[in-house]
Symmetry: C2
Amino acid sequence: MKKEILFTPGPTNVPLEILREGAKRTIHHRTKPFAEIIQKVTEGLKKIFVTDGDVFILTSSGTGAMEACVVNFLSKNDSVLVLNIGAFGRRWVNILKAYGLNPDVIEYPWGEAFKTEDVEKKFSEKKYRAILCQLSETSTGTANDIKSLGKIKPEGTLLIVDAVSGLLTEEFFMDDWNVDICAAGSQKGLMLPPGLAFVAVKKGLSEEAGKNDLPSFYFSLHAARNYLAKGQTPWTPAVNAVYQLQKAIEMIEEEGAENVIGRHKLLAEITRKCAAQMRLELFSSSPANGITALKVPEGIDGTKMLEGITKKFGVRFANGQREYKGKIFRVAHMGYVNISEMLMALNCLWLGLRESGFDVPEDAISETLKFASEKIKK
Amino acid sequence: MKKEILFTPGPTNVPLEILREGAKRTIHHRTKPFAEIIQKVTEGLKKIFVTDGDVFILTSSGTGAMEACVVNFLSKNDSVLVLNIGAFGRRWVNILKAYGLNPDVIEYPWGEAFKTEDVEKKFSEKKYRAILCQLSETSTGTANDIKSLGKIKPEGTLLIVDAVSGLLTEEFFMDDWNVDICAAGSQKGLMLPPGLAFVAVKKGLSEEAGKNDLPSFYFSLHAARNYLAKGQTPWTPAVNAVYQLQKAIEMIEEEGAENVIGRHKLLAEITRKCAAQMRLELFSSSPANGITALKVPEGIDGTKMLEGITKKFGVRFANGQREYKGKIFRVAHMGYVNISEMLMALNCLWLGLRESGFDVPEDAISETLKFASEKIKK
């Protein structure tokens, strides 16, 4: 049987209600009915980012949204600081370098969050045009303290946050936290298939897009801004994906964005409790709500174990990325996941560990259930 | 009733068989089953472009594919020639300028195709790194003679063709015609919803991607090339759109790509015959197979007439773009359209013209039917 549930950090499981919106008749994008959808979803996204600014919808992956943050607001000679805590921190560095910037980078060992005091020190030494970081670093399952950065950020420094895997999984208040620009993607907390990405820009700032010296065309927010006012995008958008976005926003509003984040927090707590009961070590010292990275126990072939779990139980976890392949594995609890599915995944993890020869405690799952039972009561 | 059929040049009507593929379960993109799909559709696309080279699948609109052609292969100081016959020729110019190039442009009045002898003259005066043009110019319904350019193109000059609306509507043999790089989109001849775009690159040339001095990241074909070998894309692709692409290619292979082009040719002939019978003037002196641009008769409000046709009959034609809004209108016969639907559209056009007060000959449709009947016999 080919049934497979994703506990991966994107793509994630897409609800049938959303999938089937993609099968609706494709209407023309330069029409009033479509403009009304764009306007409606844009308002919905603003509530999700918790911003009064602009939200731009791009037909691209999250990486495209990250690139849009850079090419619209930064210039070649800008002094820029990247807080690199994993693969997506590296991506900021690589995008900046591709456009000829030479960023200062504070690099942390994988599994650690940035330390705000390190940034404070940097700020005291040098004036930065922008600081770039992740709300949630997918590669290491680590959440960063963005709020603290917003507090110490000097006037004139842009705080640019990749919230691709953090939006709707972590608490995030873009305006309150003093975040200037934020990138997000569709296939994470928003429960959508991949194909759309979003850039949220603080009120008043989108007028500055394109006044920098980096080239942009497809990702030009200056162009996008001119069209947004009439509920349009400069280039033909993925119309059916926008239908799906509309449905996703409806579902999120029905659950309540704060409850969505609370659900992710609960699933993460249950997963961490279970991991502890299984005598697995957390990889991150600041674990994220959307994804739990765990160290593969000594003597176990992590890649083989994950393949076995996928093949035998139809449950897919994510391997470690790059140099951490086979050394860590990542259990995503992101998007359309509820407690019952989380328990199912953890049961399968227990079986997989046992099959791999790891001495996994027999009561790990029953202890997890007790913990979950207590948590649900509250 | 909200039923509406698109005779617009993208989005076009998407068959239900393709739409519902978008509602299938989203699988993970870093898996063997997905790699097999990517490899299969890539082979299918190569047959459609008629090339032995590489075809890259992008999650973007066709404009993203055009940008990819530029940023991967051209450099700031390159001498570049654009053949500008309409809105999409202008788009080449704007993309090039956004990246700091200063192209030579041969600009033709809207409605005309380029003249190969003009290009020959330019080639005799100056050595060009690249020449950029359209196979089919959507804004004016004009087909260009790409084959002739390939014949006179000097060694070392890249022939870069925007075939976004031309692929599968016009005859096109990328390799045989000496075309180096070609951009296409999903929502035209391929009968897909918008959201995917394609860049085909002549065999051996993709190795050169990124050796130029323009910046690129999301649209980097150097990155894409490294992933394509393993059936992957560097960034998370629109998985469900790729399912739809697979289905579209199956349907096109079943009909036969040459028959698909033949069908477009026939629909264009029927449309032009009908237009002549209606005493409407063709806008283009070199009409395309995918779209017929017609002049709005004197004294008629073109925009109002189109709105009436959409509202009353559920048939949507396209208005003229930019300065031609209300002066021309465009009847697209692109993608999933058959003769019966084309006749329906033309019947509605007849009604619309009549309602607008135009003295449209009463036998226009019956003459068109006779013509179609003769054509079908052959």
